[in-house]
Assembly symmetry: C2
Homo-oligomer: 156 residues x 2
């Protein structure tokens, strides 16, 4: 049995967290890797280090990129795609969540709008539910604009 370093341990834990959240485990592990190492990685490096196929590395990295958590960087004279932690990755991920919440909120309110006359009470409850999501999204978005400041002030 291979001795698990603290880094590997953290990376695997990130995978499990990601999995419980309904996201692919590999995505969490990639994020963990980039956090631990703190430098850009190519798909091949990620695949080798995490013992996954290059296909999985490509797919999951792109998905993480789509949610703004990691970003693609290029080095001159090097054809590789390098992925690294984006700037303010946490703020960005909060924005992504915020957008999703707001989207659900308006979706629900839209659904509420089509309720017939006779169900005013039901309509009211559905509307309230939708507004809860909207408010949550707005609040999260407001937070995300403070987070980057705090991150700078943390010394350890």
């Amino acid at each position: 049995m291979e001795q698990a370093s603290a880094a590997e341990n953290f990376i695997e834990r990130m995978g499990l967290i990601s999995q419980v959240d309904g996201a692919p485990r590999i995505a969490g592990r990639i994020l963990g890797l980039l956090i631990v190492e703190g430098r850009p990685f190519t798909l091949d490096e990620m695949a080798e280090r995490l013992k996954i196929s290059k296909a999985s590395a490509s797919t999951n990295a792109r998905q993480l990129r789509a949610s703004g958590i990691i970003r693609l960087v290029a080095h001159a004279g090097d054809r590789h795609d390098y992925y690294e932690l984006g700037s303010d990755p946490y703020r960005r991920s909060m924005e992504t969540i915020s957008e999703r919440l707001a989207s659900i909120g308006s979706e629900v309110i839209e659904a509420a709008a089509s309720f017939p006359e006779g169900q005013a009470e039901a309509k009211r409850r559905v509307c309230q539910f939708g507004r809860f999501y909207l408010r949550m999204g707005e609040r999260l978005k407001a937070w995300s604009e403070q987070v980057e400041d705090e991150a700078d002030t943390t010394t350890n």
Copy 2:
């Protein structure tokens, strides 16, 4: 093809939202049903209305109950278990999320503690990540204590 009422439409939509969030679809549909109808339901009623087995109704209702979103009520002289929306269901669900975030945060920080000397930078980044989750949990918790007030002041 059956004509889909606004209520059914909303319920199904809730199921999809729940599914995307990684939770069972039936759980979302049950929640939607309870929001729309605004009255207690027995497992049999839910099973019939949502066209699911009683086993699914039982399992998912209990799961929703565990996260504090719905609650169990009893009527005198009636052996049935009735489920209805809990008091402040949204606040309660936020508390559940908040606890989970805090739990992840301390888990990550704990993992960071086991980093060896030579990886001070990595340890710092992991710690920062953990603190982000902790802070997010704390904020959500603080906010959940205001939400119930706002809910009362909403007129429509």
